[in-house]
Symmetry: C2
Subunit: 403 residues, 2 copies
Amino acid sequence: MPARPPRRDDPVRQRSLRDHNLALVLRQVTSAPRPPSRADIAAATGLTRATVSTIVDELIAGGLVAELRPVSRSGVGRPGTGIVPAGTGPAGLGMEVNVDYLAVCAVDLAGAVRHRELRHLDQRERTPAQTWRALAGLADRTAAAVGALGLVPAGAVMAVPGLIEGGTIRVAPNLGWQGVALPAAADFPALHGLDLGAGNEATLAALGERHATGLDSFLYVSGEIGVGGGIVLDGELFGGSHGWAGEIGHVTIDPQGPPCHCGARGCLEQYAGEEAIRAAAGLSADGDRPVLAGLADGARAGRAPVLAALDRAGTALGVALSGAVNLLDIATVVLGGHYAELIDWLRPALERELSRRVLTAAWSPVEVRPSALGADAAMIGAARAVIQGILDDPARFLATRTP
Amino acid sequence: MPARPPRRDDPVRQRSLRDHNLALVLRQVTSAPRPPSRADIAAATGLTRATVSTIVDELIAGGLVAELRPVSRSGVGRPGTGIVPAGTGPAGLGMEVNVDYLAVCAVDLAGAVRHRELRHLDQRERTPAQTWRALAGLADRTAAAVGALGLVPAGAVMAVPGLIEGGTIRVAPNLGWQGVALPAAADFPALHGLDLGAGNEATLAALGERHATGLDSFLYVSGEIGVGGGIVLDGELFGGSHGWAGEIGHVTIDPQGPPCHCGARGCLEQYAGEEAIRAAAGLSADGDRPVLAGLADGARAGRAPVLAALDRAGTALGVALSGAVNLLDIATVVLGGHYAELIDWLRPALERELSRRVLTAAWSPVEVRPSALGADAAMIGAARAVIQGILDDPARFLATRTP
DNA sequence: TCTTGTTTGTTCAGCCATTGAACTTATAGG
DNA sequence: CCTATAAGTTCAATGGCTGAACAAACAAGA
């Protein structure tokens, strides 16, 4: 999705040395709590002030960072000039295809969302081609808005609730899609000449959370119609052999449990998926009222069947997550999607199972926290993936800019 | 355990450039199928012949590689001189503390086991201090034998069947140890001045398998008295936040299953641990005859209770591994410990569950294979960890060599 | 107001690792 | 014996980092 990062088996020349340090400095600028001066960057990275100066100059020339104009600092000595991510630099476009809506947003180098477009549309009633057309419209408007802000779109990534392999969507159960080819950048007028990537919705949401929270390693679990997940290790998304990692929704809770549409029995989704919770809570399936609102209201009102259903879901989540934590030794779990709103009623059962089943819970308890981005996580994460590609290898971006 | 590899956030100077290429060339030499010439290395790495020459010279001077004397090649042109890992270079010492034996081995740069020592001793009847003393004796003899071969011990790693944190063994259930301090290098006369590390047995076994098989990403599961595991991703051991990753033995198979000594219910170990299989097979617990042999013989003889017990264990393994594969998207599972010998009877149930429960099994089936190293995996993996430290950062090794 | 001390940012010579091209060495084949 | 080919070495050039000196900007005190 983002272009290949520099690998361990690559030879290192002088140039790659500069490339690495460019990335190092840029990362420092985008991740520092306050705009650092060149001297701050030098201290933080271990490079000399001289080197940092030349690197910052290169980044400024490339439009990736900018100097802060007025400078006032506490303490004696010449005050430093703060360096900030360029407000008018590249923008990452994040696009989301979901069951009942399409959305596009633009994120700048600092990670701020600068624009968003949303359109309610039920994909189940439409062909993929129709979806792409509608999405292209949103992308057009986003690109225009972003251009008006002085930003330049630098690429796009699309979040899809399904399994992606190569250039096709293998299967997206909730959209009813199978073997659908991903659109080419050419299908999106706003993106001519740019890279267009795609990734799993929950996986990209995890990436979004990673940057919103600053957490380094965590497990992200998202409850929607399905149950998806993403794994972040050492600050990087873990994709697995094919990019399919994180599919926690089909971890077995009870081998003899209820049959799942995936063909197995007792999958987590059958206990903690939206449909399963709704049925267990005794809420009706049809009606315009969203299931989530019904559950949250019912829980707040203290309705026993709703509380019992959420306890059951929390227990199942706890069993699945305990296994994942035992396997991965990860200290934090982030609950996203609908789970974020239901966390207060899921948490007791979930934490009970975690403390009981995680082998090392006694010495190092697992923290459970709600998503920081809520429903936007996937879209923002997709946009972040583009930005991440630039942060990881600014030299490549600069090369395409000024040939 | 192995010293810190160069990190993404480190500044890169001229020197680190050389360091990286030193590692690149050394890796090429140790992993090539046949001794490569300088020109081969240049072609494989992308460096120029000139650079490779100076780097190889540095490695030869440091005693890490050597030139092959006689040189004959097919084809015209000046024949190249093959470069091989030094047969008289550093050796990694791998030590294993197990319930009923202690073992030490030495592995050279090429990954070959050059010496081994084994002593049957039941740790449950002994204090940790007694164990360290006995182990130090084996280490002494190994170091002496290795010295006679012209090798120089470069460090040691100890494999322990338990959870390790910082300098202590948090808990090693099967040894009956809790909060036992790891020995210092000073307690091992043979290791004066060397690094002495420690790691989990199954985790290190996974590392051993990684190098024995060349597999890049896989899940290693070891069946002993407990059930342990290790995760290898992209050629590197994945440790998790505290180095405790891989504890698949306590993944839940059935939330209402039999109680486990860990305090939870229905852990994999209660279905696929040695004791659980034995009980299900109706074999007697005591007697000098090892449980494993009884199971294998019974299975070969077609005894129904034994076959049923192994089927049950295989099913449970399949459920646990399916969850792990769904989560991690890993294409290969390696069965080690006792499982390696029982694989023929575990496999049918195991693969049935995998194909049923792994979401992507239809497109990309999971391969299940037996361990290549068998019972020695942990010890060899521990020794390999030392070698790996040198391969990952030969410059540091060279610096300690010639100050 | 002027001086002193402190910190930031720049300049420049020196160093170091890689490159690329020329050169030497070693072999096969005619 | 000569030619073609490939391996390995030598060396000037290049690019990037360092360290030290220096200029710039500010606070504090006299």
